[in-house]
């Protein structure tokens, strides 16, 4: 008797829930979008990325967007399948893992849903998705190395501080440096890594080891802003000048606002962008109705002490802004 009653109760509750959900779904005339993304606490990059998706694909802008944020590939696939069942118009994916997506993408295609990949590519046939808007890590590296070579230094002795070994960003950003070293355009005096967490402390140790070994260097090429900060801390402690007019030129990646403020103050020399704001571009495509096919790379900036402005920091920077003139020591 008790069991039957509890089952009844559950059924009633479920029914009410379904009715309620059906009542809320009143979205005629809006573009339905399903977004599968990584969790914002993954990195400052992702935080800006998720926030950008939320602001661009808001109800006010005429979208009915749902977002799933998880770092688990199978959860991501389950969420994508859910969106396909819901019959969204567009499916936007930044995959945790590049493989395992074939079936999901095919079923989206069969359902007539346009799939747009952002930030991260998926290992699949190009016909399985409509477009992919990505950051070209190789391009970022090339642009940064171009800047290093344009400094007009007599001889370039560079400390390379890599990110997580084997990650797309590390491979792309290292490639240009290694190529230039092979061609004899620059000399790598120390080659280290910040490890899997792109660690500030590890980067600091790499530079400290180079100083302790009595190495002569004049460029630090750190593959993200946190590691560039750690490297500069090591220089400060050892009393080596850096930044504008200093001995060692420092470049970081990612466009964190604190890093850009450091560049602006002449504490560092340059920063290379990795743009997390794909949403505006995707929205433009959707509005115009003509979506390109295949991989589209974003235009990305390199800012130096000479070219940096408040407007650019405000517009393109990610994460917290410490304010003008504040440097992170």
């Amino acid at each position: 008797m008790k069991k039957a009653l509890s089952i009844m109760l559950i059924l009633v509750l479920l029914g009410a829930g379904v009715l309620f959900a059906a009542g809320v779904k009143e979205t005629a005339g809006q573009t339905k979008i399903g977004i599968v993304n990584l969790p914002p606490e993954e990195s400052g990059y992702r935080q800006a990325n998720v926030e950008d998706m939320n602001t661009v694909f808001s109800t006010a802008n005429g979208y009915d967007a749902k977002q799933t944020n998880t770092g688990d590939n199978s959860e991501q696939i389950a969420a994508a399948k859910g969106y396909i069942r819901d019959g969204v118009d567009y499916l936007l994916i930044s995959a945790a893992n590049a493989s395992g997506w074939d079936d999901t993408l095919k079923s989206a295609k069969d359902a007539g849903i346009k799939v747009i990949l952002f930030d991260r590519a998926i290992d699949t046939d190009a016909s399985n998705y409509q477009a992919a808007i990505l950051s070209d890590m190789g391009y970022e590296g090339k642009k940064a190395v171009e800047w290093v070579l344009s400094l007009g230094l007599n001889k370039i002795n560079l400390i390379l501080i890599r990110g997580q070994m084997g990650s797309a960003a590390e491979i792309g950003r290292s490639a240009a440096v290694l190529e230039a070293a092979k061609a004899g355009k620059l000399n790598i005096v120390a080659d280290g890594t910040g490890g899997d967490s792109w660690s500030l402390e590890e980067a600091r140790k790499v530079v400290e080891a180079a100083i302790a070994a009595g190495k002569d260097f004049n460029v630090i090429y750190a593959q993200n802003d946190g590691m560039a900060q750690g490297a500069v801390q090591a220089l400060e402690a050892a009393g080596i000048s850096h930044g504008k007019g200093g001995k060692v030129k420092v470049i970081g990646f990612d466009f964190n606002r604190f890093a850009l403020r450091n560049v602006q103050a002449g504490y560092w020399d340059a920063d290379m962008q990795c743009n997390p704001r794909q949403a505006a571009e995707i929205a433009k495509w959707i509005k115009s109705g003509t979506i390109p096919s295949g991989i589209v790379y974003q235009e990305e900036l390199l800012l130096t002490t000479d070219t940096i402005t408040d407007e650019l920091i405000d517009k393109w920077g990610i994460n917290a802004d410490p304010g003008k003139g504040v440097v992170t020591r």
Partner: protein, 363 residues
Amino acid sequence: MSTMKKSFSHLVLPLSVMALLIIINLVKGADYFRITMVNGALYGNIPNILFGASELVILSIGMTLVTASSRGQDISIGESATITSAIFVQYVLQASEVTPLTIVVAFLLSCVGGLVLGAFNGTLVSIFKVQPMVASLILFTGGRSIAFMIDGKLSPILANDISNKIGTVIPGIPIQTPIILTVVFIVLIAVVFKTTNLRLYVETVGINPNAARLNGINPKKIIFLTFLIMGFCSAVAGFIAVNKAGRHDSVNLLKLIMMDAILAVAIGGNSLGGGKFSITGSIIGAYTIEMLNRTLLRLEIEPAMIKVFKAIFIIILMVVASPVARAYFTKVLDKVRSSNKRKESIPKDAHIPTTNIAVKKEE
């Protein structure tokens, strides 16, 4: 003499490991111990090691106690430190002007946070009898998200003058502030252990909780207390780490440091199964790990291989310094010594004709 030998015998493992590393470093370059003055502070390999290991030393002290009493490890220490330092940063940032008082209050608040987190883990372990690693798995999994929420989904910047001094040097004092803070912390712990019976209680509980209970020591209370101390250690480590970094990066701050802390406890000659413990050993162990990390960089091992080399080094160090190897070495040493003694005794009796000895032996 024999009592001294006894009280230092547990330090043989960590000290021999450290000595090995020092030898490797000296072979690589004789200037390893050179110290210079830079901007009014001491600079060199040794100050760098002391500076870099500060958080690890503090955390491994807490880890030693937790291990000794609960016979398990707290794997959420990095996450706890991230949460407490988030509290610290938020309090400092809301202040209109940052004075030393602001920093002190913020630090105390973060300590309260640390104690709460310690109490959370401690309750699960002592009262609900959850295994320490499983209990701390909860904070390990969710801790960084909590810190991220406290941060307001950003990485706040800590760019005030006082924080900078805590993270680097105070003008006029030639030693970097984190090193001083670590020493103060070690002294504090030493005083606590000298003035209380904490060591005895923790060891008793770790060796046999039932026997401890029958002798009037409440194991639940002791285990809970060690987790509270762990929480406090996390708060101090988080405080130092965030002031060093000048920025609260909830994703990467002290990431995976529990691995090194557990290793420090093991290198320190402590059993990971609880019971008797040596904090001195763990402290030496922590500095040894920092030394090892820097040794690998000094040997210029390529980045892709550095972790493999670290693993190999640790295996070699642990095997060389293991009780089995030590017993073997002492045996060999004894043999060498006794044969030396025999050689020494021969010249004494050199004037005796060899035939005489042969005759004597025959008799």
